[in-house]
């Protein structure tokens, strides 16, 4: 009896392993690689510059004719890595090193070129070194100066020519992006051969990164990735993740994660590589990474899911019917599929077939998110066995688009408070890329206005939507709508960045300060501007109450 009771309790109940969490707040995981990042006081941050670290190395140096010179390559090789004056007339010749961003500079050294080492009289006999801030390129502040210099190597600290001091007279740094060396003395019979201009500073390295691996020891569905970080103004911290041997992407192609984002690579995944990029534009500020938490679910939504779309080509800008096909292998231990999300497109007039059986509209629910450009489908019945799901629908695209899909489960979502989407894989025998064919249309088509009057507070006229197509642009540009009162004052501006597509802006009659504008006639202008293109369309609308 007891055994039967236990058996009966077991039947019909869904029991899955809990989602797990991996986190570090100590340094148990030695990073696989680390560049200019250190672990101090329980956090990762950028390493501080050492006194002998040349921050000019690899940056650009140009002479006073605007020509690049090899004075920041770390070499002084004869001819190819040095600058030779070819004349004793060097008075006023100058060279500017661009450090890429403001740095806190403490010292400048000028190394002679190989020619000068062979003929030691070819050195700088009088010089002036100045610096300019990133925001005021034409204002040069003196760093060091000497009119009588008789050493091969110019060293602003060693020869005490450094002029930047603090209140008590001690040498201090100057924050600048550009460093200029000017030769202020010449010898009548000797040339000058420069090998390298070295710049030294204090503060933090400008860039750094670390990489580490996360191994789950079995295929898992990665959930939210959360980290605790302090990112002061002027600094940046970027978190990236990709699956080992699953996502064949260069780190530059991997998108950065936002806090509490879910992993965007292929799943299930067993091993992940993480890369954390640190950056600072402020010499004495660094981002700090304190903690990292990775949620992962050993229970999968489905063991294996592949997707493709048919057909692969549609006419640009025209509504086309497509079929999105999902082949899922669902094991007995898996949650099963009852959520499907297709990214980067809105599908309309959807029909769903599962293993050839058409579902009625009562058996599923559609949620189209125009802002996030995705379509979500909730199935009332969970798919618990291997199945082919065919989703037909109509879509309209302007550019080639990759339509990725993810699957999820209700039970997991209710337990964990969010849908842990399991990203699918592209069917190796098909493709989830939808190409558009046909000539690009006008940059900006006519505007479809949902009404001509806004009556704030009313049931059905509380706002107007302005919808239009943008086509024939290849890179993201700013698309905006500006609303003006009749005396020419702009009362509202709405904008977003994007490429070709359908855009929609809603205006509720409020100004930039969120107050309802006075009743009257208003003019609007839709502007597409950037990347060498410009288009405008105008119209009017009324605010009445």
């Amino acid at each position: 009896m007891i055994g039967l009771a236990i058996l009966m309790l077991g039947i019909g109940s869904e029991s899955y392993a809990e989602m797990k969490r991996w986190e570090w707040d100590d340094e148990p995981y030695l990073p696989s690689t680390r560049r200019d990042v250190v672990w101090i006081n329980g956090a990762y941050k950028l390493a501080e510059l050492s006194e002998e670290e040349n921050i000019a190395l690899g940056n650009t140096a140009k002479d006073d004719f605007g020509l690049r010179v090899p004075l920041t390559d770390g070499k002084i090789d004869l001819i190819v890595s040095e600058w030779i004056s070819n004349s004793p007339n060097v008075f006023g010749r100058n060279f500017v090193v661009d450090l890429g961003q403001n740095r806190a500079i403490t010292k400048v050294r000028v190394i002679p070129g190989q020619t000068a080492l062979n003929q030691p009289e070819y050195f700088v006999r009088g010089y002036r070194i100045e610096a300019a801030h990133e925001n005021s390129r034409d204002v040069w502040r003196l760093l060091a100066e000497q009119t009588k210099h008789f050493n091969l190597v110019l060293d602003t600290q060693a020869d005490s020519s450094w002029k930047v001091t603090d209140d008590v007279g001690l040498s201090t740094y100057r924050e600048a992006r550009y460093v200029r060396l000017t030769i202020t003395r010449q010898d009548r019979s000797n040339w000058v051969a420069l090998g390298d201009i070295e710049v030294y500073g204090t503060g933090y390295h400008a860039h750094g990164d670390l990489q580490f691996d996360f191994g789950a020891k079995q295929p898992v569905n990665i959930g939210r990735i959360v980290w605790e970080a302090d990112v002061p103004d002027g600094t940046d911290l970027r978190m990236k993740a990709k699956g080992v041997s699953v996502d064949n992407l260069d780190w530059a192609e991997v998108p950065s994660l936002a806090q509490r984002d879910q992993y965007t690579g292929v799943e299930p995944v067993e091993d992940l590589e993480f890369k954390v990029e640190f950056e600072t534009k402020a010499a004495f500020s660094t981002p700090r990474l304190d903690k990292l938490k990775i949620d992962y679910d050993p229970t999968l939504v489905a063991s294996y899911v592949i997707c493709h779309i048919e057909p692969n080509k549609i006419q640009r800008k025209e509504i086309a019917e497509v079929k999105y096909i999902i082949d899922a292998m669902v094991g007995s231990d898996d949650y099963g599929i009852d959520w499907i999300e297709i990214k980067n497109s809105i599908f309309e007039d959807i029909g769903i077939e599962i293993d050839g059986m058409m579902l009625t509209s009562a058996e599923y629910e559609i949620m189209a998110d125009v802002d996030l450009n995705r379509t979500r489908i909730e199935l009332l019945s969970t798919i618990r066995q291997d199945s082919r799901i065919e989703i037909t629908g109509k879509t309209r695209l302007f550019v080639d688009t990759e339509l990725r899909a993810s699957v999820g489960n209700r039970v997991q979502a209710e337990r964990d408070g969010y849908i842990n989407w399991q990203n699918t894989t592209e069917n190796p025998l098909g493709s989830w890329d939808l190409q558009v064919v046909g000539a690009p249309g006008d940059l900006l088509s006519s505007i479809r206005q949902s009404g001509s009057v806004i009556s704030p507070g009313s049931a059905d006229e509380s706002s107007i939507s302005f919808e239009f197509d943008v086509d024939n642009i290849s890179s993201a540009t700013e698309i905006s709508i500006e609303i003006y009162s009749m005396n020419g004052i702009r009362v509202k501006r709405l904008s977003e960045f994007g490429t070709a597509g359908v855009y929609r802006f809603d205006w509720d009659g409020s100004s930039e300060s969120e107050k309802i504008v006075p009743p009257g006639l208003y003019m609007y202008q839709v502007v597409v501007e950037g990347a060498g293109v410009s288009g405008r369309r105008r119209g009017t609308c009324v605010v009445a109450y």
Binding site: G488, I489, V517, G520, Q525
Partner: protein, 298 residues
């Protein structure tokens, strides 16, 4: 409006009482309309709208009610405006008015209608001005303004007060004049400040210099949290032709800077005016064209 116009020609005391009663009787409703399209004629627009100290045209009385006191002859004018030509649908404004000098002072009457398809705004105003002193004039103008669009609409009234001070000959060849105006004075209970946080009243300080045959004018207007600077110039060109140019800058949440140029021609007792206005900040909306015709009485 015709009735009100006729009443303007009656003996002054009856005229004022009855006209005021009629204006007040036009029941004001709750909302205050934007009325952002300025009631400018072709002559005034060509000079950047710096007309609040300008004497000698009907348009001057639209800017400063006290100007009517200085008019010596009857004058009537009308203006047709095509605003922002780049906006589809066509934004048009028609306005007109007249000044009639009487032995007690100058009486004025004006109207303007701005419209675009179903939307329209109308303004009717009448006023009176009198010389209080050889150099100083005072005037007032009662206006009734309304807008309508389909089933929506509202009507409002307001009062403008103006003063004109003839500074006199500041040099042997240059005459100067100062104007002060308070426009849009109305009941605060119907104030659009409930919605915008700004009072609709506006205040203008203007001055005009007339050296020889040229006119230089400038003024500043403030109110509703905005400032506007206006300046203009007029000079004879050849024969009865006059050249005008000016500019105005409106400082609010954003800027609106406009350049204006125009021509005027007088033939017998008829004056023809044209003004072209181009907003630098709204250049893609197209220019505004104004054509005006004025008729001088004897």
């Amino acid at each position: 409006m015709v009735v009100v116009g006729v009443l303007a020609l009656w003996p002054i005391s009856k005229n004022i009482v009855v006209s005021v009663a009629l204006c007040i009787g036009l029941k004001p409703l709750v909302a205050f309309a934007a009325f952002e399209v300025e009631h400018w004629g072709a002559h005034s627009a060509a000079m950047g709208g710096a007309f609040s100290a300008h004497v000698g045209t009907v348009e001057g009385s639209w800017f400063n009610p006290a100007v009517a006191a200085a008019m010596q002859v009857k004058m009537f004018t009308s203006t047709h405006v095509q605003l922002f030509k780049g906006v589809p649908g066509g934004l048009k404004q028609n306005s007109g008015g007249g000044v009639v000098p009487t032995k007690y002072g100058g009486a004025t009457l004006s109207f303007a209608r701005f419209g675009e398809r179903e939307y329209s705004e109308q303004i009717f105003a009448m006023g009176f001005a009198r010389k209080m002193h050889q150099r100083f004039s005072l005037g007032f103008q009662l206006g009734n303004a309304g807008w309508e669009f389909g089933d929506w609409g509202a009507r409002d009234w307001s009062l403008s007060l103006g003063g004109l001070y003839e500074v006199g000959w500041i040099t042997p060849h240059t005459f100067a004049r100062i104007g002060l105006v308070a426009r849009g004075l109305g009941s605060t209970t119907r104030d659009s400040g409930r919605l915008t946080g700004h009072r609709p009243s506006r205040y203008v300080f203007a001055f005009e210099l007339r050296p020889e045959k040229q006119i230089f004018a400038a003024e500043v207007e403030t109110g509703r949290g905005e400032w506007e600077l206006r300046a203009g110039c007029e000079t004879p060109l050849v024969g009865d032709w006059n050249l005008r140019f000016g500019g105005n800058v409106l400082f609010a949440e954003t800027l609106n800077r406009t350049a204006n140029v125009g021509l005027g021609y007088t033939w017998n007792l008829i004056r023809f005016d044209y003004a072209y206005s181009h907003s630098y900040d709204l250049s893609s909306f197209g220019a505004t064209h104004r054509i005006g015709i004025g008729l001088f009485g004897s």
